[in-house]
């Protein structure tokens, strides 16, 4: 699981163009949206694409995204349970 979390942090930084953020700076439980990393709605859409592209998960209802993308922890848990890649 910790490997997946590391991978997610790297992907988030790269995919979302977070230039000045280092992997070490992202805590597993840090909120990704709002406070914390301050991601926005377009970032959320990119994460949905990432779930599909890298883990084979198609979100049936994009509103689910809110819960899944709360933190790296919640993302990793969801992906581990649902991935097909």
């Amino acid at each position: 699981m910790s490997e997946l979390k590391q991978e997610l942090k790297e992907k988030i930084i790269e995919q979302l163009n977070l230039e000045d953020v280092a992997v070490e700076e992202i805590e597993d439980t840090d909120p990704l949206f709002g406070e914390g990393l301050g991601l926005d709605s377009i970032d959320a859409l990119e994460l949905i694409v990432m779930l599909d592209k890298d883990y084979g998960i198609k979100l049936a209802d994009p509103k689910e995204g809110k819960k899944i993308f709360e933190s790296v922890d919640t993302m990793a848990t969801y992906i581990a349970a649902n991935r097909s890649r």
Binding site: L16, N17, L18, E19, I42, L45, E46, V49, D52, K53
Partner: protein, 203 residues
Amino acid sequence: MNKSLQIRSYCQIKNGIISHNGKVVFEHPLTDFEPFIKAAYKNFETDYPKFFKMDNLSKLAFMAAETVLSDKAVEEKNMAIVLSNRASSLDTDRKYQESIADEDNFYPSPAVFVYTLPNICIGEISIRHKLHSENSFFIFDAFNADYLKDYADGLLQNEKAEEVLCGWVDFDDGRYEAFLYIVSETGNHPHTAEEITRLYLTP
């Protein structure tokens, strides 16, 4: 009631050089856009993380606006924006098209799609400087000083804006060029098509 209008600040970006009011303010050994504009961003201590989400056209327009607005904060907030170019958003359009070109690797990117319009760069400048003023984006074959001059004149003489940020920001296939200037009631250069063209052409 005809006001006498001036150009109070202008900026050029091309070939790895940023100049403001005719003086070089930043120069980079590599003229390749991406390392150049990133270095410029850092050089001016811009501190605006959303910069890195922008496409090349918006990054170019953004830094040009940062430069041209650097000597006086936009207090009035009634600054209209009239930009133009030749390539529209084609550079980003192509990138986006690539993300949907392969049937087997088909992942359209929302973050790229959002920039497939040339006027988004105006949106980015407006968000940064909190400008709610009138704005438009024109596509021309080449830089059109006459048109921009008439448009800015119209806005200012009819008191639709207190100042106008005008210019040309073009990005296509690695080639970049930006020329932005502010039209106002005060300034050091007369607001005429000849002067605008002269400033545009001065290396």
